[in-house]
Point group: C2
Chain length 306, copies 2
């Protein structure tokens, strides 16, 4: 059921060169194109709407779930609801990329609504990669919504990456943390052409000693536009840090709007943001080693987004 | 025309122990209570609305203008428009405090709309202190609006201070900078009781090599609420930095929302914010020197706001 284009996209978004080990659900052009469950990880098709429930048993260790989505037909527009129930003490990796190949003239759009119910002391590594290609006039649109509900002592590490090719994206991430829970977010974003990308994070630190660290690195090329909003709300003894570093190039436009909201005397919240172009001396150094200006830029960007 | 209460308030908001040197306009309870002009600084009462025009001749050096406002009657509500025209190459200090003494049951409110037209290469030091006192049920309300239009090469250093006693304030500051212009803002704010304070800064860096540095330090005690918003818009080769440090105490609530808007590849914008309580080790150190906890807190706060 998977053709060559789809295979290539799967490599980009999920580093999948073959059928993955462990549990997976591959969605291609709005339909299931493969599924595997394990003794500990069940995947159930939702009956009331499009999407799946992923149920991970308490104590599941070192297992992974891949749920890549591929859109290779022009004109598909879908909203998919995926709910993850991660049992107590589980330690799992979830990979959820989406790739669009659109050579047609109609817009392709995938809006994935992901909800994570993370049990006590569970540990989740979540990787979400977005990628699009195709020379058609049709736009490639991705509007992911990610909701994270973390129980006591849980640890979630999210890597949110938009590699290239996505014309329009509004990324909305919302998290609520109970006591001793930790959420780490690493966002890496590159926009080019006339692309628009908006990222909105809201993290509520509700439980004692909860903490979050949100780190966004982005590069805006050509005439692209980026808006980054990150709100950390501290409602108790907690600590939060947000950092946004953006490289602006050409005629791009970057807006960073962090928000710290301290509702409690024991909330310690910090934010840093910096927007600027590639440092001239870095470029000159690399060019003195024989690189062209463009090669030097590419090398700096790739290091920055690594 | 100035009574004892008014004298005391003038000391708080304008460090005035006597009639100031240079130009001044003292406004008390909605009426002019004294005015002096100099050869270089003219003060003219507006004819179309409440307020004054302050005209400073080009090249005026080392002169000052004091325009303090005192409200000592309960129930006064006024909006005053003061426009400052600062000539090329002038180098002046402007002091514009407002103090409210309200022992009555009616609200007292002063909304000062200050506009600064700063000529080429002019240098302005602006000090604005807000203070209120009085045990009546009437609220003390101050809603200053400050607009700054800076021509090429001009330098403005603003010190915006709200000492204490102001029940409700919305401080709006907007600046537009031409080439080589610099705006420095130092805000110091303390709220206590059930006070609410909102500060909104918008600085547009429109001219090449314009720059701004906005530094806000605030302390929120008791059940007070503070909102700090600072937007820096970089439209050309320019640099902007905003920093917000807030100490939260008791049941206070502090929100910091900086915004960096880079519209040009040569705009370099940086922001930092931190909200937290007084560091425990600082308190312990001072207490080990014989201070009570409260004395230690007061000393730390006064150092922080200095």
């Amino acid at each position: 059921m998977i053709d060559e284009i789809q295979k290539q996209i799967l490599e980009e978004v999920a580093d999948l060169h073959k059928v993955p080990d462990g549990a997976y659900n591959i969605r291609a052009n709005g339909e299931s194109a493969g599924r595997n469950t394990t003794a500990n990880i069940d995947i159930i098709t939702k009956e009331d709407k499009s999407g799946i429930d992923i149920r991970i048993k308490p104590g599941t260790k070192n297992e992974s779930v891949h749920i890549p989505v591929v859109l290779s037909k022009s004109g598909i527009k879908e909203t998919v609801y995926n709910d993850f129930y991660i049992g107590e003490d589980a330690d799992v990796t979830i990979v959820a990329g989406c790739g669009i190949h659109n050579c047609g003239n109609q817009d392709s759009q995938h809006d994935g609504i992901h909800r994570f119910y993370v049990g006590k002391n569970a540990k989740v590594r979540y990787v979400e990669k977005h990628y699009a290609q195709g020379d058609g006039l049709g736009k490639k649109i991705l509007n992911p919504v990610t909701e994270v509900y973390q129980e006591a002592g849980s640890y979630v590490d999210m890597e949110m990456v938009q590699i290239k090719g996505v014309d329009s994206t509004v990324r909305t991430t919302k998290a609520e943390l109970a006591e001793d829970a930790t959420l780490i977010v690493h966002e890496r974003l590159m926009t080019h052409g006339k692309q628009k990308a908006t990222s909105v994070y809201t993290v509520e630190l509700n439980g004692e000693n909860s903490s979050t660290d949100i780190i966004s690195r982005s590069v805006a090329k050509n005439e692209s536009e980026q808006i980054f909003e990150a709100a950390i709300v501290g409602n108790t003894v907690c600590s939060g840090h947000a950092e946004c570093d953006a490289i602006i190039m050409d005629k791009a436009h970057v807006v960073a709007v962090p928000k710290l909201d301290a509702n409690n005397v024991d909330a310690a919240l910090i934010h840093e943001a910096a927007i600027g172009k590639i440092a001239g001396d870095q470029l000159i150094k690399l060019m003195s080693l024989g690189l062209t200006e463009q090669e030097a830029e590419e090398q700096i960007i790739s290091g920055f987004l690594k």
